[in-house]
């Protein structure tokens, strides 16, 4: 009914968080002495990793919103949610769906992103270890 609203709310929060992080990371790099940033060149900034989550969440939200529009569950005029015009029972059903399906959607997408970030972090650590070993050989 409106399950995509939960991932949409998460997407808003993660987008704001990634913008703030990106600004902080840029400030940190510009504050470093010249050439110091080369030591961390193999590490992907966390703001970029957060953008992967943003892309998955926003992409899913856009396509699911279209599906809800297709099924007449949302409308492009106020109050936007069809259930809101169908009485308290429909609203209660919609909220229940948001709390179950919507929350699970947000959790699953975040969990998959977490796995991707964990794998990429492992690759980064391995690359750093290999780079440390290289001069000794």
């Amino acid at each position: 009914m409106a399950c995509f609203i939960v991932p949409a709310a998460e997407a808003v929060i993660t987008t704001v968080a990634s913008k703030i992080l990106e600004a902080k990371e840029k400030n940190a790099v510009s504050a470093q002495p010249q050439g110091a940033h080369l030591e961390t060149r193999e590490k992907i900034p966390f703001s970029r990793k957060l953008k992967w989550l943003n892309a998955m969440l926003w992409g899913g939200v856009i396509l699911l919103a279209f599906e809800h529009l297709w099924h007449g569950e949302i409308v492009p005029w106020f109050p936007f949610l069809t259930a809101a015009t169908e009485g308290a029972e429909a609203v209660s059903e919609m909220l229940h769906e948001m709390m179950t399906v919507g929350v699970t959607m947000a959790l699953l997408v975040t969990a998959v992103w977490g796995v991707i970030v964990a794998v990429v972090s492992a690759w980064e650590k391995r690359a750093a270890r290999q780079a440390d070993k290289a001069p000794q050989e």
Binding site: A55, G59, G60, L63, W70, M105, L108, V109
Partner: protein, 105 residues
């Protein structure tokens, strides 16, 4: 059906992204994230629906299947439209900007 079509679209886009060196320039990654995100969300929807309908979930009415297939294709088309907009706005190869400046000269 919508889930299936979106998963196929996501897998094809991921294959293209992995295979082609120009994929980054073409912003294929945007399509991958978008279709995988939607696939995961529809997977959750399918699991909840399966829990409610049990085996009936796998035997939808032909009209429902047709409607879902039509929806799936429309979703892929919408995803492609979003991708084209992102590609033109970000303009990684500078072709849009070059075309605009050429006209104004």
């Amino acid at each position: 059906m919508t889930l299936l079509i979106t998963v196929f679209a996501a897998a094809i886009c991921t294959g293209l992204w992995y295979r082609s060196e120009k994929a980054a320039d073409m912003k294929i990654g945007v399509l991958c994230w978008m279709f995988w995100g939607a696939s995961l969300m529809w997977l959750v929807d399918a699991i909840f629906e399966f829990a409610e309908l049990k085996a009936d979930y796998f035997t939808p009415a032909p009209m429902d299947m047709l409607n879902d297939a039509f929806l799936g294709l429309s979703v892929v088309a919408l995803g492609l439209i979003v991708w084209v907009i992102v590609l033109l706005v970000k303009d990684p190869q500078g072709k849009v900007r070059a075309a605009v400046f050429k006209k104004t000269k």
